[in-house]
Subunit: 254 residues, 2 copies
């Protein structure tokens, strides 16, 4: 391995392979040369080729599978969670189901719901006191049988307790907007705070993605005027999802 500028060998090898991926010499799903091959090709030890491939893995360009090899990862996410249109054009029962159907997939989900009390974080987001009763619902969404999205939502029981829509699922109406409408609360807007971070072990396991891959974490809160009526933590694999926000720009009035 020629040593340019003292740059470590494993970075040079990573550069080399990366450029082959980016210029198309190595295509999506192609198998990289095995570690033994790379050792021979570049004349380095196994630890160097492992470091090189690890760099590409942490960049999300490559996935490794024990026993099979390392593969160029399909680059672009296949699914889109469209947000703007969902809310503004037809508030359907479930944003997830709507976006899944829009891309021709079969949506499924499972959920667990229970009464609990609000943590400080959740209380702050809902504008209530820590310890106030809330309805907590954990969802796990599947698209075409594959786990796709996790969501945990919280509603103040002060709003829904004793109404027909106390249960988020299984009642006569589903979906936050229609359910709240049914009890005379009209949702005016929704705020989504989006961050990116690495998948935590529980999330990686539940979403069936490799540990450490970047995920998108969304804090979504529905408001009726200035009053929060539901908040949720949503996690999607950024491998598989693009969040697409469509925002209106009103005409200027000057």
């Amino acid at each position: 391995m020629a040593d340019f500028r003292g740059r470590p060998a494993y970075l040079q090898i990573a550069d080399d392979i990366r450029s082959q991926i980016l210029d198309g010499t190595l295509q999506a799903e192609d198998r990289l040369p095995s570690e033994a091959d790379l050792m021979a090709d570049y004349g380095v030890s196994r630890i160097v080729v492992r470091n090189a491939v690890e760099v590409l893995r942490s960049e999300g360009l490559v996935v490794k599978q024990q026993g099979r090899g390392s593969f160029v990862r399909a680059q672009r996410p296949q699914r889109t969670r469209v947000v703007g249109d969902l809310y503004s054009e037809r508030p359907e029962a479930s944003p997830f189901a709507a976006s899944a159907r829009a891309s021709g997939q079969v949506p499924e989900w499972e959920y667990q719901t229970r009464r609990t009390t609000a943590s400080k974080t959740i209380a702050d987001r809902l504008g209530i006191q820590a310890g106030d009763p809330v309805m907590r619902t954990s969802y796990r969404f599947f698209a075409d049988g594959e786990p796709a999205m996790l969501s945990t939502s919280f509603e103040p029981l002060a709003i829904t307790e004793g109404t027909p829509v106390e249960q988020p699922e299984g009642g006569p109406v589903t979906g936050v907007v229609p359910r709240m409408d049914a009890i005379g609360i009209h949702i005016t807007h929704v705020v989504e705070d989006v961050t990116g971070r690495s998948a935590r072990p529980y999330e990686a396991e539940t979403l069936k993605v490799p540990v450490g891959v970047p995920i998108l974490a969304i804090e979504r809160t529905y408001f009726a005027k200035s009053r929060p009526v539901e908040t949720a933590d949503i996690v999607v694999s950024s491998d598989r999802y693009v969040l697409s926000y469509r925002l209106p720009v009103p005409p200027r009035n000057d």
Copy 2:
């Protein structure tokens, strides 16, 4: 090192340190025990402790500095890039400057602009042909002197060529919406496609973040009715930024 269920030692050590970080035993900015200390503490070889710390690094919980040590990373992003309000309430010159001022920071930016031709990707996003001339502008935004956001924008020269707003910066008007207004093109909406991925080497270097930390990549396109008039690739560190989208939910009409 007790060996539970055959789970690899480095994962157990990572679990151990992770729980110390999450429960506050190790606080933000605290130095982890050195590799030599961890080797002695757990009775394992250096490669094991390095693997363990690498796991935490890839999860974004720890940063390493050669010669100094490994440190618990400050967790929560401090800055918010507010999106919905910017477009819907007052289309200001620069979304970046507006959001920076909103959080009490001093916005600065540098840019390079030049004529070029559209790649296939950009052409698709702008609804033009690959090879058509475009104006390309690369921005690097700073907040309080620290690099905060990268952006590369493309405008079809078919729209702006020969007009006073051909140059995105330095002309009589700045900002996409006002500039397009000035030549009679009224932007109706903007689409932001958000993905998360690991920082690429160039981005890590330019944003001064450790390699491999998750970043948010935004493809933003401005539309005048159905016609795209500008598109940009925006990269922000998810360490430092939350994207906050505020979306209206119209009243039901059924």
